[in-house]
Amino acid sequence: MKYQSQKVALYYIYGALALFAAQILFGVVAGTVYVFPNFLSELLPFNVIRMIHTNALIVWLLMGYFGAAYYLLPEECETEIHSPKLAIIQFWLFMIAAAAAVVGYIFGIHEGREFLEQPLPIKVGIVVVALMFLYNTTMTLLKGRKTAVSNVLMIALWFVALLFLFAFYNPSNLAVDKMYWWYVVHLWVEGVWELIMASILAFLMIKMTGIDREVVEKWLYVMVSLTLFTGILGTGHHYYWIGTPGYWQWIGNVFSTLEVVPFFAMVIFCFYMVWKGGRDHPNKAALLWSLGCSVMAFFGAGVWGFMHTLSSINYYTHGTQVTAAHGHLAFYGAYVMLNLAIFTYALPYLRGREPFNQQLNMWGFWITTSGMAFMTFTLTFAGVVQTHLQRVLGMNYMDVQDQVALFYWMRLGAGVAVLIGVVLIVWSLVVVPRASRAATRISQPAE
């Protein structure tokens, strides 16, 4: 850690990890409801559990991006954060807004619009948080060195905030409502979040492989081009059956098929950089998360996305467990692993120590990743059976749910494995072994 103000990233990383644990806990509870339908039904209805599971995910990922930005911007821009104090106020405001939203959900206060359930005052709070963040980081960027990594990251974060504004527009016509809803949901995860992913991976590769910045930046530009080229019109794959004109099927088919390409480019990029660099970075766990992120994102977002992106297939599969399978592995592979990669990389520097608990962290990696992979398989099988029984043979929805119960049991098992893995990961990142504390204080790394 070269700059004192990078320390504010610690708030965000710990905050994100706390919400991560809560998200997985609620995931396991939701998975339990799938096999014991009345579990907690009086206390916490399933829709609320699901809301907390998905909202906590989004919030902690965003919190992770904020933390990543506060960590890497000073190093990229070679200057301190414009206002560390503002960054800390921003953190607490975000945390309080998130907590208020969750408490509200438990008491049934929400807008009911999937993923954008936050009541209006919370949404306004999110915008205030975003403005504080963008002001602080943009001022930092403007006064310092401008690199491709920091420019791409900041442009992406600006668009994250701008696209969120569509969450305020909620037309009464359901088709129009959904159309704008995807402006937030799709253009985040298959657009600007991918740019965040590419820029953070580029930062990690520069730092850990020793490859020249110039080379990494060229790859970054190619990944950005491919993402925007495919991802924006790829929105078409959400416009197949919501009442939008039929030509969207043609646009969605062609462009969303190509959305696999940028994810594949990221796999090639990461492995090629590590292979070319040929250096052993001491933080092996961070390297494992970075490489794992590119691979699992390719499978989760790329392969599992392509599986049901063609309209002729999606006609049968949309809204089944196939979607759930894709959603879980895509979020885990692309964005959860990305955050864990930068956390694992940054924490030893932020705490002024040699990389710690690497074995534990890597056990966490393998257990969680295996758990998520198994969950994805079970949900995929459940989805295929469901599609056939429900959409082809025309069985009733609830009768079909009985038929796929076995898969839900296996999914719960996978979820418990994921929970165990997450406990290991969080423990390995947060708890520094006592013995190594004083002995291994390190000096500031030089760029």
Binding site: M208, I211, F229, Y247, L258, H281, P445, A446
Partner: protein, 204 residues
Amino acid sequence: MMQGDIQKQPILSLGDTETPDDEASWGGLEHLPGHPIMWVLILSELVVFGAFLLVFSAVRIGDPAGFAQDQLQLDRLAGGINTLVLLTSGLFAVLATKAINEDNRSGCRLWLLATSIFGVIFLIIKLMEYTAKFDAGIGLESTTFFTLYFLITGFHALHVVLGLGILGVVAIWPSRINVETAAAFWHMVDMVWVLVFPVIYLVR
């Protein structure tokens, strides 16, 4: 530097003889004219237009009679004229590149202007075609043939518009690499039309 952030150190060569300079290059894109990132865009465009034309041809196999009937309503003369217009503009783009290679900035600007004027003529003819279709009651959702016709030619026309923007920007700063980059994009637009025209208008 204890903790291994390794930068600006010699890169280990794992049995191969590449120098860091080679690795810093754009690989296969390095020696193409214009900016390499433009070629990433051009290749992406070719994949997309290629996919659309394949889809068009594949759907036609399923409904040859319907496609033939709809195709008769297309204005082949306008399409033919537009082909000549766009090819001519491509020639002007070449002449602009040639001028800038001879350090003739004003000549280059004139040729860029000529390229743009022919691009505008293309768009006017295209617009007249579209208007005639709409007047005849044919729209984006009339038949699969016309959905694909409007999508493919519409996407292409949008690229002509984008190309005009690029030509305009380059005319303000006519460096060699800028002009070559714009010309590369313009030739792509040109070439895509040369593929679109026969597949949609002519093939029986």
